[in-house]
Structures are given as structure tokens and as C-alpha cells.
Symmetry: D2
Subunit: 339 residues, 4 copies
Amino acid sequence: MYSFRNDYSEGAHEKVLKALTDTNYIQTVGYGLDPVCEEARELIRNLCNAPQADVHFLVGGTQTNLVVIDSLLRPYEAVIAAHTGHVNVHETGAIEATGHKVCAAFAPDGKLTPALVEQVVNAHSSEHMVHPKLVYISDTTELGTLYTKSELTALRRCCDENGLYLFLDGARLGSALASPENDLTFADLAELTDVFYIGGTKNGALFGEALVMTVPNEHFRWHMKQRGAILAKGRLLGLQFKALLEDGLYLDLARHANELAYRLRDGIAALGYPFPVASSTNQQFPVVPDTVMEKLIGMGYEFEVERKEDEDHTCIRFVTSWATPVSAVEKFLEDLANC
Amino acid sequence: MYSFRNDYSEGAHEKVLKALTDTNYIQTVGYGLDPVCEEARELIRNLCNAPQADVHFLVGGTQTNLVVIDSLLRPYEAVIAAHTGHVNVHETGAIEATGHKVCAAFAPDGKLTPALVEQVVNAHSSEHMVHPKLVYISDTTELGTLYTKSELTALRRCCDENGLYLFLDGARLGSALASPENDLTFADLAELTDVFYIGGTKNGALFGEALVMTVPNEHFRWHMKQRGAILAKGRLLGLQFKALLEDGLYLDLARHANELAYRLRDGIAALGYPFPVASSTNQQFPVVPDTVMEKLIGMGYEFEVERKEDEDHTCIRFVTSWATPVSAVEKFLEDLANC
Amino acid sequence: MYSFRNDYSEGAHEKVLKALTDTNYIQTVGYGLDPVCEEARELIRNLCNAPQADVHFLVGGTQTNLVVIDSLLRPYEAVIAAHTGHVNVHETGAIEATGHKVCAAFAPDGKLTPALVEQVVNAHSSEHMVHPKLVYISDTTELGTLYTKSELTALRRCCDENGLYLFLDGARLGSALASPENDLTFADLAELTDVFYIGGTKNGALFGEALVMTVPNEHFRWHMKQRGAILAKGRLLGLQFKALLEDGLYLDLARHANELAYRLRDGIAALGYPFPVASSTNQQFPVVPDTVMEKLIGMGYEFEVERKEDEDHTCIRFVTSWATPVSAVEKFLEDLANC
Amino acid sequence: MYSFRNDYSEGAHEKVLKALTDTNYIQTVGYGLDPVCEEARELIRNLCNAPQADVHFLVGGTQTNLVVIDSLLRPYEAVIAAHTGHVNVHETGAIEATGHKVCAAFAPDGKLTPALVEQVVNAHSSEHMVHPKLVYISDTTELGTLYTKSELTALRRCCDENGLYLFLDGARLGSALASPENDLTFADLAELTDVFYIGGTKNGALFGEALVMTVPNEHFRWHMKQRGAILAKGRLLGLQFKALLEDGLYLDLARHANELAYRLRDGIAALGYPFPVASSTNQQFPVVPDTVMEKLIGMGYEFEVERKEDEDHTCIRFVTSWATPVSAVEKFLEDLANC
């Protein structure tokens, strides 16, 4: 049976694998200083319409989050995040381990707003408290929601007014940008954030996140090295992002994932199961009776439990990916109908 | 006019000053290894009925909190605290600066309960999350409330069941133990917590906190030194605690502070101002109209603003101390009556 | 022209690539909890004759070093390393960034001895100093030398007598074990160290280090996650180590690298260039006149400069790898002869 | 018998005690924001001819060192110190605990020179290494030596050329400035360093270090609070420094300590005991036969052992202070003559 547990259950898109194989015996210098990484950087700067941006390649999301945040903050400065934010709950205190507090704001749909940000800022007024300095958001969020251009623009303005950095975690950026509800572009992200990343791990690469920094951060590679975040064979990252980005494959793969998510969503909804938070991306969170959940597990389906909804119901998470076959979704819907 | 801003506006009780003056030219070794510190340690062990306890003297509360917590936790472990807890809001991220997350539980009266603790524990279930390992409570709390023996016993049981340390911040312990609502003793604290401290700074000393550890922590002095928390002339700490504790002065001073707080509270209440959280200790939090608050400020009174209560009202904090004269409270009540 | 700059200039051995390709569409759970990682773990436990050992897969060396050391040490504890040790000079302070001092001992050949270790231990005697607790060694060392079984046994005894952990960085372990001067086995390493790793990055993998811990470290995966060191598609690591280790390929590749290093060494020596430190592994450090070095650079050869030896001479480093062709070495020796 | 163990064996000069007693019941705001601290700050700015300098009061030396260094450095930046430097050996890794490496240079007399500094700078050339950014020196040094104006000027120039901060630990600054070999003034220190401190603990105060920063460091009080280094009753620090500095008492006390040290030195030398490093300050390091050392200990004298000099001799440290009576030195010299 199929696993809808996450979007990194398989390897990589075959174009990515082919790029690795084709260049296997070419010698390059290490650490991401090779020509392929440079090509990939240039490609990304062009996509982002940001010729001055710094582009760095890192292996994973938690690593990227902790290096970026530690590189931008002074010891007494803190992060503002939604209570559902990955840095707040799912990184084993990685940010705190670099010395920084994460100030969580309760955000039912996983999205920060200027009002939530200012509430945190206003609560921190003296030298006896941390100084919030960086707003961390995810697009898509951990609940599958996304930011519109007007929402992101409002956050940018709020950050400017309050002297805050804006950092967008794009581990699932592909799914966000490929959603019909999205009106943001790579160029908008480069313009509206100080730093964001284009997630590869969850959208067709073996691994890798491409970080785009428009805020000056001259010694960023020192920070990376100190946290064990410079890959020796850095070219592996450049090769993968070049393969994914040079002809639009990245968004094509995300579009596929999204479309299967909608099919799944619509099929589940048609059977009468509610979705407390609407999602137009590749994560879907229906609420099902526990009896149904147990039957699905019994059939061998895999998914994450998001939370107990009440005595008899559970909110569960389905994730589709670039590799999810249509047949898997259809079979699942059939099986669910029979539960 | 009088300052009710806090309980550390003056110097020290004269018995403390006399002890410092009388011994001024006696030579001792440094770092708290002198005979006076040893006497004070023995005195505290006796008070606590804890002959095996380790006793350490530190200069201030934030310093004590960060050294204790850092010494007990492994890097991935976290603190559970009330959202109002000093370590959560008033220490500029001191705990996070040692690498540990503070998991805050919303506690309207500033007190943790087994239910609140378990809610945090249950929300942290995997290696992708921090592992809550230490419960931090304050007695009195930051809102002037205190723990009863049955409440503390219940927390102890909860900690035992969940493999948690219990750490009690006693920066205002004198006021708690001297309250008529208190039924805890020093010996109870030594038995029911793993580590707690007897606050000197806010109850008659120039500075100093006496830490009582019943949990093994063999290299605690290494932790202290690393955080700059071993005072060169350590005897200054031993001398002060000896003076405060050897004949009951410590609780006498706290009783004085409390009694003036009750007089203040009762006088303010008699004028019709409400107290959202009842306090039987030396911090009192009435709600007054902003116009009244401004008049008090205009007269030269000092106090802290706790929070805006609504458009026109503010919750303010009054603190009395061992040094507060009766006349100051009487004059204040007269002036308030005229507002 | 060929690059002798390091042993990670190419991709991966084709058997590794094939393993990735063949399994690309199989779904597995993430984070190294999949069946292939489990197979690779079992394989390694068998190779090490250490059925109880914990085996973890990490992406790179600096990452592995910092997670291991941070997981084993208490805040006041320190590392003992050779002054040339990777953790002392080449990791941008990664160990210090986790809070721990590295106490460096001057070791001309890059190897620690019991005498050097005890010199550091004896110099740290009080709570005003760090407490050395972990001995870090590399095999091969950063100078290409290696440890014999009797040397490692002596270090083990020294560690036992002084209450120290022994951690062996095996980023280039293949080259050490494949050297004719080596008399250690994987099983010896598991028996004599508390923790060591089998380096994949520099010996045929795309990336990856396989950590073998015989010291208890129950929450090691929490430490990994906190440092961003759990790979989402963890199976990529298991697959690679399985491919390298299941039929001896790992040592075959290292043997190839070593043999080309000897051919290089012997050819260079035959031309009269001295080698200050003898190496029987895949790093070779001849001293050449600067004029010769410049000619080699002019021809397009790549290598690292180790240090200026005197006014006119430089010690340079040549590294061979699993991928180095015989022809490249022969061509180089011809070209050098003509310098 | 007398203790020459250190210069913090007694309490405080009586003028300091009197200042504390006289102001005991005056109410002030806490945290060093009171009028007395402000007076003391102004006094120090005047002494330093540095009207723009920031002055902060901290409790002790290790605390001051760690807060200053952590506040100035970015995570990948490191300290350059003499191998004997207090931050390198006597602070239980306090600097590393804030994440920063201390790069030690071997300095036989405890003093850094431009050549030693540049040697460290030149050895750190890439993103794989820490970036040395701050030069830490002590005046007097840990060996009793001091810096001349020309030496300090040369270090300043070296720091400017290499983009380094210059931080002078003045825990024993009084003794340095009161030495006949000194030609530096408070104003020179403010001009030539980025930050230095005037040590109170070892020269007549109960405790306290007065930090003078000419380098911008806007949020320094946030750093202090985070490290538990803001004293609640901050006025205690202001009062003490005002008492010591307002009429030259500080240097008078240091001159007394030095003169007794010279008397001790000259008397010991007259008995034929050598001093490997010449000191014109209040720490003296003679070498004595172990038999003599044992006799002195037997008589009840106290002093620190610096190091074993050879089989039968030990280098020991004598420290005099503002409180050392002439009679104690005379009696000691008599007793030594009889050894």
C-alpha cells in the first residue's frame, strides 16, 4: 500500500539522477566552489531577478534554518514564529541550541500576520527581555496554507517598520508557488524577504536547499562551516538544482504533487470528511473517525497523525509528492470509500 | 515620595552590614571556600534538615537560574515554566543562551500544576522535539501567589512519574514562607525539590542567593566558574546568609514586608480598587484608573506597570520590603484616598 | 591536468550510484529508520564484531565531530587533540561553538600519545580550569600517518586510567586500514575506542560517515536532529554504506588510492625531493622548490599548500583517491621530471 | 601567619564600607541606573578623558571577560590571547562556553606583541578556520609584568592594520598604573584600547569591575542581563567606584600594595632567591628550594604554587594588597631568613 507520510519517501527525479551520473568522473574543487554550483547560482539569481543576491546550497532544512538564524542574530536577539513553525516545534531546539529564543505567536492557520508580529514586538520592551529581530515564516506553512503577495508585502512593511529581518523557509516552496491560489514569484520572494530558500529535498532532489540572501552576510560560509553545513562534494547540490531549475522542472513536479493532493482532497471530502484548515497545496489534513483511521492503517496505508480532534476523531495528514502515481490516489479513494 | 517599585531599592539590613564591617580585615581564602561560608552552609543544612545537601552561594537570581539549569540539562533537554516565569520573560533569553528551550505553559495565577506540566510533556514525543526535563517554579511566583505543601507535593509526584527535575526559584522565598497562607518549611523544600534557593537580594542582603541542591551535581562549581558565578570574595555571601539565618532574622524581615503589603492591599481595596489575582505576599497588583495612576506618578510615587487592563485602567504592582516604613504606607493610602 | 587536491573531487563509485538508481522509486520512511539503513547497521556491527554497538549515519565529518563531542561532554568538559587535529584547526571553531574548549597538544607527526594526553590532563587540576574528558584522534591523521594497534591500545589504557573517552575520526579510515603498515581491524577499533567512524565521503561515497558507538548514548538521535544532522532521506546513507561494505569494496577502493600514493611518493622521492613526515597512506607531503611548485601550477596541476618550509621551498600535499587513474600519476611524474 | 595568596583575602577599604553604610537607606532604582552609578560613570569618563565612552559596572573578572567578548564577536570569530592569559587557562572555558575559540600564543613573559598577534592572524586564512577578531591582554599580566605606552601603541597599530579589537583586562590595573615602570594613564587606555576595565575586586572594593568601552556596543546591557551580570542593587558598584576614584584613593591603594611587593621582592632577592620573570607590580614569583617552601607552609604562610621549576625547586607566587601591613612583610622576611 502507498505511503502518504511525506514528500521525501522516494529518491530523486530521474533527471537529477542522470545529472549526477553523467558528471560523476569530472573532477571539481569541493565545498560548492565548483563551476556547476556557480552555474546554478547564476540560474537562481536570474529566476529571482536578483543579480546581487548571494546563493548558498545546504543539505537540509533544519540545518539551513539554524545557520541562517545564527548568522543574522546577535546573542540577545530572538525569532518570531508561528506556534506551529518548524523552528518552534520540530527541530529539537536547534535554534535555542545556537543561543536564541523563539517567541511563538498563536496562529491557527500557521500564518504570521503583522498584528501577530507586533504583538510579540510590543511585549518585549527592555533589556530584561530578548529583542525580537527576525520573523520566520514558512511557505507553504506546516498546515499546508500559503502566503499571498499582499500578505507577504504587509509582513515586509511590518518588518521594515520594526527593524526586523524576514526569513522564509521554503522547504515546500515548490508546492506553494505551483498552487492556483499563489500569486508570488521567485522574484517577489527575493524582493520581499531578506532571505528565503528553495527546497529541493521535498520536491525532486535527493537532498538540498538553495538559499537566496539579499541581506548582506559576508561571512556566511564561515557560519556554514562552523555548523558542519558545507558539503565536501558541494557540486552534488549545484548539479541537482541546475537540473531542477533550468527548464522549469521544479514547478512541474510541484504542480503534479498539488494536483494529486487536490484529487485526494476532493475525493475525501466527497465522502463527507471535513478539513478544518483549507489547503491548496500538497499537504491535506482531513478529520476521520478513529475507526476509519485504524482500517486504513490495517490496509497498510501510511500517514502522519496531526492531532486528536475529539474522543473518536483524529486529524491526519496526507502528503503527495512529485513521485506519487495517480493510481495510488485512486486506489486509496476506493479503499476509503469501503471503510 | 516612596518607591514601591521593588524590594531591592535599599542596601542591607544593619545586622548584615555590621557582619561585613566586623570581619573586614580578617583574611580568608577566596571563592566561597572560607570558614564563614562553611558555617553558613552548615546552618542552612540544619534549617533544611538536609545534612547531605550541597549549598552554594551565588550573587543574583538570573545567574543562579542559568547555572542551575545548564548544569542539570543535556543539550536536547528543555525547561517547563509558567508563561509568567522569570526564566521565560525577564532574563533576556539567559536560558536559551545556554542552549535550552523554555517550554511555557499558560498559567493565569503564575503557578504550574501537574496538569500543565503533563500537557507539555505529552506534546513532546519524538527525537524531532526537545525533551522536557526540568520543571521551573517560583515561590512566591511573579504574580505574588504561593505554593501550598499539597500543591508542591503533587508537583513532586508528577516530576517523579515523568522523570523531571523540580527547581524552585526562591528569589522571594522569604515572603512566601512568612505568609499566613504558607504551610511549607525549609525542610519541606529540601525534601520536595531537587534544588531550590533562598533569596537574599530581595530580603535584607546586599546581594546573594543560597542554593540548596539535593540532586547530585558533583561538578557544580565548575559550572559556576564557567559562567562567572564564583565570587572572588565569596565570604561576603557566607557572612550575609549567616547574619540573616542564624537567629530567624530572615523570616522576621519577610514578615515585616508582608504585613506592610497587607496594610497596603487592604487600604487600596477599601478604596474600591480590585485585585484580579489575590496575593498574600509582598507583591500586590491592584487595577486603577489611568487617571489615578497618573496622579500617583505626579506625586512622585514609584511602582511598576504590570499591564494595560483595558482602555482606561492599568494593573500596577506595589512591592514592600524589609525596609519599608509603616509611615510610607500610611502616607500613600492617604494620598490615594485623595486621588 | 589532474587535481591531487583531495579525495573528494569526483562523485561516487559506480556501484554506489547504481544502488541509488536501482532503489530510487521504493518508498521508505525517512530519517535513517528505513530497512536499508538497518541492513547497513547490521553489516557494520558484524564487521566490527560489536553486536551491541549503535550505528548512526551522518553526512559529513565536521558535522559528525561536533555532534559526537557535544553529545558526550558536559559543559565544563574539554577535548584533547593534536595541534594538527581537524577539530582544532579546520572546522571554524565548530567544537567551541557547542561550548567546549579544545586543548591542543603539540604532536609533530599528528599523533597523540599517552604522554601528550597526560600532560594536558595534569595541567588541568581545579574548578578554575576546564576538565579534559575526551581524546580526539584521527586515523589516518591530518599528516597521513596512522596508529598501530599497540599505540591505540596504549591510548585506550591511558584513557581508562584518566576517565577519558576515546573518539577516532575515521574520515580517512579506509586509507589507514588498507595501508601495509596498519595492523588494526574494524573490530579492534570498536573494542579500543568509545566511538569512531568509517568515512565514506573520501572513499567512494557521494557523502556520508558511519558512526560506531560502543559508549552508551541513548539520546544520540536527539543530538543529531538538534544539529541538523539527520538526513530526511536517510536511506541514501544506508544504501551507500551497504554498497561499499557488503563485499569489501571499501577497502579495495582505499587500497587503490594508497597504491597510487606510493607510486607518486616513490616517483617524487626518486627525483630527490624529501618527505619530512613519512606516510604510508593516500596523503603525501613532499617539499619542493617554489620554482618547481610554480611550474606545476602553471601546467594546471592542483594540490594544497601545507606550509612554507623555508625562503625558497614549500611543503605541498598530494592526495590520491579511489578514482585516481594510473595514467594521471604517470603523467604527473613525467611532468615533474621535466620541471 | 599572613596569607600572600592573593589580593582579595580581606574585605574592602574603610572608605568603601563607609560609603555603603552612609547610603544604606536611600532608595534608588536598581540595575545600575541610579544617580550614584551615573556620578561614578561621569567620574570615570573624566579620568579617561573620554566623554563619549560607555561605562558599565560588573561584579567580577570572568563575568566581565565573557560578556565583553561575547558582545563583540560574531559566532565564527575568535580571541587571540597569551598562553598564560586568564581567559585561556583560568576561567573553566568561559569564553568557549559562549561559542568562541581562544587562540593562544606562547608568550614567555605573559605579554602579547604585534609579532605574536600577526602569527595567529596569518595562520587563519580561510572559511575553514575561525577568524581571529579580538586581542585580549591583561595589565598587569598574569605574571606581574606590564605594558608600556609604546608597547600598547604598537599593539593598537597592529590591531588597526588587522581589523582587530583590543581588549585590556584590568583586574590588576591599579598595580600596573601605580608601578614606577608604568607610563600609561587612564586616558591612554581609553584611547589605545577598544574596551578595558578598572579592577575593583583586587584593589580595595568588596567586588566590582568598571568597564570603559569606546567601541560602540549599543545593546551591551542586554548582553549583561543575558549572562546574569546586571546586579540588582547596582548602586553598590557605583558607590564603591566613586569612593575609590573620586580623590585618587584607587592609585594610592595600589601604590601601597606595590611598595610592599618591592620590599618583599628585595628582601627575598637579598637572601639569594632568583626571580625568573622581573615584576614591578604586586605579584612576585621567586624560585625557592622545596625544603624552604615546606618550612614556610609549616609556619602557616599561604601563597600559590606557580609551577615546579626542577626536581628540588618551585616557583611560588606572593601577592600583596592594599591591606597588607608592613609588619607582615617584615615578619615574613625574618622568618624566611631563618629557613
